[in-house]
Amino acid sequence: MRILVVGGGTGGTIVANNLARRLSAEIRNRRVRLTMLSATDRHMYQPGLLYVAFGQMTPDQLYRDQRSLLESNIEFHVDPVEKFLLDQKKVVTKSGQTHDYDILVIATGSRIVPETVPGLAEGAETFYSEASAVKLFKKLREFEGGNIALVVGVPHKCPIAPVEFIFSLHDYLKLRGIRDKTNIKYHYPIGRMHTIANVATWAKPEFERMGIEIETLFNVKEVDAENKVVRSEEGTETQYDLLIAIPPHKGMEVIEQNNMGDGGWIPTDRYKLTMNGHDDVYVLGDTTNLPVSKTGSAAHFEAEVVAENIASIVKIGTPVRDYDGKVYCFIEAGHDRATYAMFNYTTPPDLKPASKPMHWFKTAYNQMYWTSVRGLL
C-alpha cells in the first residue's frame, strides 16, 4: 500500500510521523510505503511570527530542517505537486516525477492574498510572513506616535492573532514610552470584537481599559495608501499613520488550478476528513473548507484522527473514529498573561481568566512545538 502525504507543515508532519510509528512493522516488511512531498526543506513555526513583529524572536529561531523532524522510515522529497490526477490515483510534481498512491493525504496549508483588496499590499504592514514581520518590526521601532489601525481580512488563519497583536502592541508602545502619543484603532469584520462570543466579552473591557478604539462590522474594501485612508464595505473609513492588516487568505493555487476547490479550499467531510467524492483522499489543516479555525491546533487534532484511521485501514480494513471539530488555542493577553479556548462542533469555548502560568506554558510550547510535530507529545 502506498501512502502519499502532500505538504510538510504542521498537519502533514504530524500525520506522517504518527503513521510512521503506527505502521513501522508494515513499512519495514515493505507492505506499506510512506512518502512525503513538500514545497520546502525548512519547517517554520508560524506562531513565532507574532514575536518577530515585536523584536522578541529572530526569524532563524522559527525554522528547523524538515528532514530532521521526520521519522527515518518516511521517504521525503522537496518537490511540490503540480497536478493531482485523482481519478488515476497519482500526482505529478514540479520536477516531472509521477507518484502513485493508494491513499493520499493533502495538507498544503493556506497563503495570504493581500493583493485581492485594492491598495492593501501597498498600504498595509502585516506579520503573516517572515519578511513582512521583520519589516513591521522595523516600522514599529521607527514609530514615534500617531494613529495605528489594525484591520482584519476574511478568511484568515489563527483567528486569535488580531486580539493577541493588540495586547502585544499596547505593551510594546508602553515600553517605548510612546503609548500616550499613539491612538490604536481595532477593526473587526463582524458585529462584535471577536468571533468567539466569550473572547469578545472578555477582551472588550480589556481593550477599553487599554484605551483601544473598536469598530466592528468593518470589512476592508480598499486602502488609499497615498492619503492613508482605509475604507470598509460597510461604508466607513479610518485615517491612519501606520496600517496593520491580518490579510485575507486562500488555499494554495495548485488546489484551484486542479479544480479541487473554490478559493483553494477543498470540500471535506467534517467527520471523516475525506475529500467529498474521494474516500481515498484525506484532507486536513488550513486547506479544508471546514468551518473550523485555521490553526496549527486544528491541524494537529485532525492529523491524529487521519493517522489513526489510515493505520486502521491498513490493519483491519476500516477507519475507526471521527473528527469532532476539536481546537485548542492559546491566547496571549499582554502583561505576561495568557489564557486559552477549547471547543469542538458541539461544545462552545469556555474561557478561563488570563494568568501568568498560562503565559509561561505558551512560552514553553514555542519550543515544545518541535516535539509535538515529531509526534512525541
Binding site: V154, I190, I196, P291, V292, P348
Partner: protein, 76 residues
C-alpha cells in the same frame, strides 16, 4: 449564470457562521444565492444586520429542527 451554494456552518464557534458567509460572499458572483446553515442562535440577528449594512439582499430565514437556514442574494 447565477448559482446556489449551501454553506454548512453548523457547530462552528470559530470562525463562526457570519465569517463563513463573508468568506463565501467574496467568492460568489452578483446574483448568486447563498444558504447559510447555522446552529448559532445569534445568526438570526447578526447575519441580517451585516447583510443590510453591506447592501446584499436577505431572501429568508427559518429555523428547521434547531438549524437556521438563512438565504442571501449577493447584490453587489
Amino acid at each position: 449564470m447565477s448559482t446556489n451554494k449551501v454553506i454548512d456552518a453548523r457547530g462552528s464557534f470559530c470562525p463562526g457562521p457570519l465569517m463563513e458567509l463573508i468568506t463565501y460572499m467574496k467568492q460568489a458572483s452578483v446574483g448568486d444565492t447563498l444558504e447559510l446553515l447555522s446552529t448559532d442562535e445569534g445568526s438570526a440577528a447578526d447575519v441580517p444586520e451585516w447583510v443590510a449594512k453591506v447592501g446584499h439582499e436577505m431572501l429568508g430565514s427559518e429555523n428547521v429542527d434547531g438549524v437556521w437556514h438563512l438565504k442571501i442574494r449577493k447584490a453587489k
